[in-house]
């Protein structure tokens, strides 16, 4: 097969939502979805997923483990709008209603190889004292109607959030034809190892 001048490149993402560190909460599940630009389209794999409900280990009161797989391949002509994975974590409150315990987003790593990302999780806060009171009284927390807003740069100045906890993702990235399209993702010319000089 003679692939002379490709016009698209491929980004293969294998990974998993490993675990979350949310000390105050238990019995949580998470959803993920991808946000990407106009030039991007998924080729294969699932764009969205919902994990199982997990609880903390009785032995070591530490992280909530999901070990939830992500396998997706994208194609694009332009790196602009590089996909981001958006994760939202939900769990029951004292009345048993599902409420959000954290939103987070991160760009898929751009370089091939294995990567680990720990992302902060945050929830929106009520802006007025009246809303704060009613949300406390009715047990309804503020939520984003569309979790994808956490991957957008516009309109964020009006939101107030509270960050609480972290989520760990691991990725294995394979790219195809980026180099042929003229893109440099890693510095090959100057591969000088970083060193600190102390006189």
């Amino acid at each position: 097969m003679a692939a002379v001048s490709p016009s698209v490149f491929l980004l293969l993402v294998n990974g998993q939502i490993e675990s979350a560190n949310l000390p105050e909460f238990d019995d949580l599940y998470c959803k993920y979805c991808f946000v990407y630009g106009h030039d991007w389209s998924p080729v294969s794999g699932l764009e969205e997923g919902i994990s199982q409900i997990t609880s903390k280990s009785r032995v070591t009161q530490q992280d909530l483990v999901w070990n939830f797989p992500i396998d997706i391949t994208f194609k694009s002509t332009n790196p602009f709008g590089w996909p981001q994975v958006v994760v939202s974590v939900y769990g029951p409150d004292v009345f048993g209603n599902d409420v959000v315990r954290g939103y987070g987003a991160v760009h898929i790593p751009i370089t091939p190889g294995r990567h680990k990302r720990t992302i902060p999780l945050f929830v929106p806060e009520s802006t007025s004292r009246l809303q704060k009171f009613t949300s406390w009284f009715l047990g309804r927390r503020p939520e984003f109607t569309d979790p994808k807003v956490v991957a957008q740069g516009e309109g964020r100045e009006v939101t107030r959030v509270r960050s609480q906890g972290f989520l760990t993702l691991s990725f294995n990235i394979v790219t195809k034809d980026l180099k042929k399209l003229g893109y440099d993702m890693t510095s090959e010319v100057l591969s000088v190892p970083e060193a600190t000089y102390r006189p």
Binding site: N78, F80, H107, P109, T111, E125, R160, S163, Y183, S187
Partner: protein, 175 residues
């Protein structure tokens, strides 16, 4: 023309005297640079963290530049603001950093500073808050007029930026 993609996040800030912080940011580049797509300025959400060590914004950045020359390599400039419980905003720090010129993933820490006024200003600031601000925000990333300022150091802004270059090798440019 050579192209540069800057993809990443303004992660958050640490080392500031109080939390409930937000950040105004912008990317400034020289005359040879043209913005093809993406937002080159914005404002993050206000984070009031539960864990008081660091405020997190996770603010996405995705910009695409085309350039005819290397002069005026893009700079990211930041203003960190504090919002109190009444919704009043107070300047906490200015800072800038150059976009890394080598392709790949970079974790950056941008140091920040804040102008200080006379001792009367500082006394007033102690009681009512506020404080001096720059009249022109160009001064954040231009070094020419800085010598007239008296400043104090503030916290750090954490950034994760991935840089993708295109066709730089075609012009013999080594980054």
């Amino acid at each position: 023309m050579a192209e540069v993609h800057i993809i990443g996040q303004i992660v958050g800030a640490s080392g500031f005297p109080q939390h409930s912080l937000f950040c105004k940011w912008g990317i400034n580049a020289g005359g040879a640079w043209r913005l093809l797509s993406g937002l080159k300025e914005g404002q993050t959400q206000v984070d009031n963290p539960q864990n008081e060590e660091m405020a997190y914004w996770s603010h996405p950045v995705d910009v695409h530049f085309a350039t005819k020359g290397l002069q005026g390599w893009p700079k990211l400039h930041l203003q960190v603001w504090h919002q109190d419980s009444y919704g009043r905003c107070e300047l906490y720090g200015y800072g800038f950093c150059h976009i890394p010129s080598s392709p790949g993933f970079h974790e950056l820490k941008c140091v920040t500073w804040r102008p200080v006024g006379t001792w009367q200003d500082q006394l007033a600031q102690l009681f009512v808050g506020g404080g001096p601000q720059l009249k022109t925000s160009d001064l954040i990333y231009i070094g020419a007029d800085r010598y007239r300022l008296q400043t104090t150091s503030m916290g750090c802004v954490h950034l994760q930026l991935a840089v993708i270059l295109r066709h730089f090798d075609r012009y013999g440019v080594e980054c």
